[in-house]
């Protein structure tokens, strides 16, 4: 196959990848979009094989590794429960990062096959591109591993901080630049290995100070990094499909990080430098034994049955308790009683962008009943009951009233405006930001202390 024809096929798969993302603008077109993505991938892989054209022993090895990896991937995709999606995505990011590192190593050790020169005499531009790709890939890999461990609960979600952390990171970052410089001057293999090791270390150190509920930002950021790593390798290999994909993924992750930060009213650097949760003094709250109205499933069922409209506000607690199916049942019973039910999803609810939407979709909640913050916030004022299940900080009115609060300025869901509020929560403990929620103590709030799933199931029993 001629080089030009090959380049055109790579361009086609790049365009198909753009269409794959484009499809996600609505659920109806999304499945077709995903098929475009698969087609693009199939084209890129097939033409690569055809262009090499040497189906000897190397091809057999390649095929074996491809099929084994592919089967593992397929099994994971079918087995994984939807609640584990955040850690799955983090795990996948780590694989992309590591694959980028491995490809860069291959290219460095055997540059002839990629037309980059010979060992010890690699083209300067290629050397810069592959070292940037390898470095970002390594950061993505080790950072995603930490994110994975934190999300999976193997590692505590609490931020790990120590003195001088940021200076160490700064130092490591500068060393990476210096090493790339020396690598380009000397072409020495030892600098290349050092560059990769230091990048691994930087990835670890960047993510350990970031707390569990900031994971939506971290996951989006690592998504973006994996894209830039791919683009770096794409420049090295002079491959259009890879360059386009890298740019798409890079900007996609960056936009998601921006949306997540905006949802918390925090700057990107504030999150990355490990803001919330690291300051324990924030948990000192004014628990002056304010009276709380304590309710049970019967009260909640009665209240909602007699309401004309209910807005459900899900949060991370719903994901932990796997309460989405019970919740759907509750919504169905309510609808049978003529109650209008809708769902309000805050941008940072859960542990990754869109986390709540996926869980509700899994429970067969029609997506046109699920609303984003800006589309439903005005409806709370005319709603009888707000049913908050596993969310806390995103409903705290203190974000609007107290400039001293760490969550001040965060756009919240106006649940306090509805006639009554039901809070399903295990205890009165403050949320992730360590701020007491004054909503708990209001007259029109009823606290339902229980596991989200059990409570919802009991409410369903009482409704029927």
């Amino acid at each position: 196959m001629s080089v030009n024809l090959l380049a055109i096929f790579y361009l086609i798969s790049g365009v198909l990848f753009i269409l794959a993302l484009r499809g996600l603008s609505s659920p109806e077109t999304s499945r077709r979009g995903n098929l475009f993505g698969m087609l693009g991938m199939a084209i890129a892989i097939t033409v690569t094989f055809l262009a090499i054209g040497n189906f000897s022993i190397g091809f057999v090895y390649v095929l074996i590794f491809f099929l084994v990896g592919g089967s593992i991937g397929a099994i994971i995709a079918y087995k994984i429960p939807m609640t584990a999606m955040p850690e799955l995505v983090a795990g996948f990011h780590s694989l992309v990062g590591l694959a980028a590192v491995f490809v860069a190593i291959s290219a460095f050790l055997n540059p002839q096959v990629f037309n980059l020169g010979s060992p010890g005499d690699i083209k300067l531009s290629s050397l810069i591109e592959m070292s940037i790709g390898a470095s970002i890939g390594a950061i993505t890999f080790s950072g995603s591993i930490i994110a994975f461990l934190k999300l999976r609960g193997i590692m505590s979600g609490a931020p790990i901080t120590f003195k001088g952390q940021h200076y160490i990171n700064l130092f490591l970052g500068l060393s990476i630049i210096v090493l790339i410089f020396y690598l380009c001057n000397t072409q020495s293999e030892s600098f290349f290995w050092r560059l990769i090791s230091i990048s691994f270390l930087l990835g670890l150190l960047l993510i350990i100070p970031i707390g569990g509920a900031d994971m939506p930002v971290v996951i989006s950021m690592l998504n973006s990094y994996s894209g830039w790593a791919a683009a770096g390798i794409g420049f090295t290999l002079e491959n259009t499909a890879l360059i386009i994909t890298g740019a798409l993924v890079g900007s996609s992750g960056a936009i998601l990080s921006y949306i997540m930060c905006k949802g918390m009213n925090r700057s990107f650097f504030n999150v990355i430098l490990g803001g919330f949760g690291s300051v324990n003094s924030l948990t000192v709250n004014n628990k002056d034994k304010k009276p709380v109205k304590n309710g049970n499933a019967e009260d909640a069922a009665y209240l909602m049955k007699n309401a004309s409209s209910v807005i459900i506000v899900p949060g991370y607690g719903m994901a932990v308790a796997q309460a989405q199916h019970a919740l759907k049942e509750m919504a169905d019973s309510l609808k049978k009683n003529g109650v209008k039910v809708s769902y309000a999803v805050h941008p940072v609810a859960g542990r990754m962008p869109g986390h709540m939407n996926v869980l509700l979709a899994e429970a067969n909640v029609p997506y046109d009943e699920v609303f984003e913050q800006e589309n439903i916030n005005n409806d709370f004022a005319s709603t009888d009951v707000a049913f908050v299940i596993g969310a806390n900080d995103v409903t705290n009115p203190v974000a609007k009233t107290d400039p001293k609060s760490p969550i001040y300025g965060m756009p919240i869901l106006d649940v306090e405006k509805s006639k009554s509020v039901l809070f399903v929560k295990r205890s009165l403990s403050p949320g992730y930001a360590g701020v007491d929620n004054e909503l708990f103590y209001r007259d029109n709030t009823l606290m339902l202390f229980a596991d989200a799933k059990k409570m919802t199931e009991e409410i369903v029993k009482n409704l029927n």
Partner: protein
């Protein structure tokens, strides 16, 4: 004077960033999780580099370090390609409209 091919690739890269910017902003927030998993899958197109590395050389040279890293990269990227696209498909199958609208 000829333009360095690098500049062409850079142009593609910069324009693709802009395309990405507008396309991603038009993604509905409820599909942000599938967006992440599908971007994951497509960035594994890095496998093309791994294939080139893995298929290089003859029978004697097939198990040198460069090839082995190529094989490992193929293995990792293949997990991602199949896992990423299939899990995205599985998620997207779940997004349904209200029945009465059908």
């Amino acid at each position: 004077m000829e333009i360095d091919p690098f500049i062409f690739r850079l142009s593609i890269f910069v324009l693709a960033i802009f395309v990405g910017y507008y396309v991603v902003w038009s993604v509905t927030p409820s599909l942000h999780t599938p967006l992440m998993s599908v971007t994951n899958a497509i960035s594994s197109v890095i496998i093309v580099g791994a294939i080139i590395a893995g298929m290089s050389g003859d029978i004697k040279g097939i198990l040198n370090t460069s090839n082995i890293f190529g094989f490992l990269a193929i293995f990792l990227a293949a997990i991602n390609i199949f896992g990423g696209f299939l899990v995205t498909q599985r998620m997207l199958q779940m997004y349904k409209k209200k029945k009465k609208n059908k």
